[in-house]
Subunit: 234 residues, 2 copies
DNA sequence: TAGATTGTTAATCGATTAACAATC
DNA sequence: TAGATTGTTAATCGATTAACAATC
């Protein structure tokens, strides 16, 4: 009987919500917002699952991590469930966000209507390009000025943001990241194609447009190979 | 002995590459491109793992799905491994891509240098906004004209794209999707905050900027709660 | 040979899902 | 009560990882 390796410390079971569940909560949230807007009062796990393209058993399991918010034989109260998900996600509080890099992507992010409606407030826009510094950008209805990234150091204290978005080119990303972390940012959304080095405790999520296309291309290739092999087999 | 449910059809083992591995291959590819550019000839799994922030055992396992391309006691030939990964991902062939929706995000995508270098060629830019139609955009060094999305139907045949990018607002996304699918697009990268309905066999990857921020906010909230509970415990 | 590093094994972990008891 | 739907169980699956034999 090979009695080897000790079991891990059960990190997820200590009352936490599994990471896979967390990534789906925003989908449920969005679908419920749409339903609430249509005046839907009650929803079953089957209906919500279909709206989010998720298995209904998985959906019920996901929701059960938040608590017991449904009624057997009836379903879920849309508004109530919406609130519970928003609370779990932290959308019931304000999140000041700093955006560094205001090219096309940064513009798109700054102007994205989906931010403000979820508690994210853009409190600072920075860039290194002198042609962009001083530019006025309309964020959530009010005009903001793009500031020199060299002012980041001095202004981070008053901005008090714990979330930062990096939309710079590859070259400046790590430097910007260090600066943000130095000033108390502990969550970073990174659009630059670099693996950022951050100290323990800082979360980074990377969104890479090229990576997404490459994954699609992989499956696309597989599909065409499938067609070829089926053709030659007949 | 409850002898229940039959085992599944082992879909992943039929020579395919696991999905989790596929999502990491672009990272390895990028890191290897950077190494090759620096003139590095040889790399160990340990080094490549560190550059991509991945466990080295996982890395070796990932690479083993492609074949046996390393040398024990030595490491991997950078150029050779690069080629093998590119081939597996389908980056050794041309991928014509159509972009629909040329707002800030569409602009950022069209101008992204990381596309052309990986075999993705933007062959069409479409928008519904009359103010944008006719605009010239520089894509990979050459100027392209933004066309009316109503011309999509007529021009898809000559464009011959199997990959489409949807960067429209939420409202137009499903309609655009249907149009693309109707004309042979079988892989879609969707930036609109909607779950697209597609027929069997069409792959959709959704990138949602708000979702990413929400996931960060969740963890950020958890971090601050941790600090609070530690404070009250002391 | 001695040292290094791959490729693979096997254990563990986390996520998915069908099924169903609980209960409205 | 009869019908409906949740919340949970338990089985299965896929992904991760330490360890190490194979081998350069």
């Amino acid at each position: 009987m090979p009695q080897s390796r000790l079991p891990k410390a059960q990190t997820s079971a200590r009352g936490g919500i599994p990471e896979a569940t967390v990534t789906r909560l925003p989908m449920y949230h969005r679908a419920l917002v749409a339903m609430a807007a249509r005046g839907v009062l009650l929803v079953s796990s089957e209906e919500l699952a279909e709206a989010t393209a998720v298995n209904s058993a998985k959906l019920r399991k996901d929701l059960s991590f938040l608590g017991s918010y449904g009624t057997r034989g009836v379903g879920y109260d849309v508004e109530f469930l919406l609130y519970q998900i928003a609370r779990a996600l932290g959308l019931t509080q304000e999140w000041p966000v700093v955006i560094v890099g205001v090219g096309n992507l940064g513009h798109a992010l700054a102007g994205y209507p989906g931010f403000a409606s979820r508690g994210f407030t853009v409190v600072g826009l920075f860039d290194a390009d002198p042609r962009r510094i001083g530019e006025q950008i309309v964020v959530a209805g009010t005009s903001m000025t793009v500031r020199d990234v060299r002012e980041l150091h001095a202004s981070m204290h008053e901005l008090n943001a714990s979330i930062g978005v990096i939309a710079t080119p590859e070259s400046g990303a790590q430097q910007v990241c260090d600066l943000l972390v130095e000033h108390g940012v502990t969550s970073i959304l990174n659009f630059a194609p670099v693996i950022l080095e951050v100290p323990e405790g800082v979360d980074v999520r990377r969104v890479d447009l090229a990576t997404e296309l490459q994954i699609l291309a992989f499956h696309e290739q597989r599909k065409s190979q499938l067609v070829l092999s089926e053709t030659s087999a007949s």
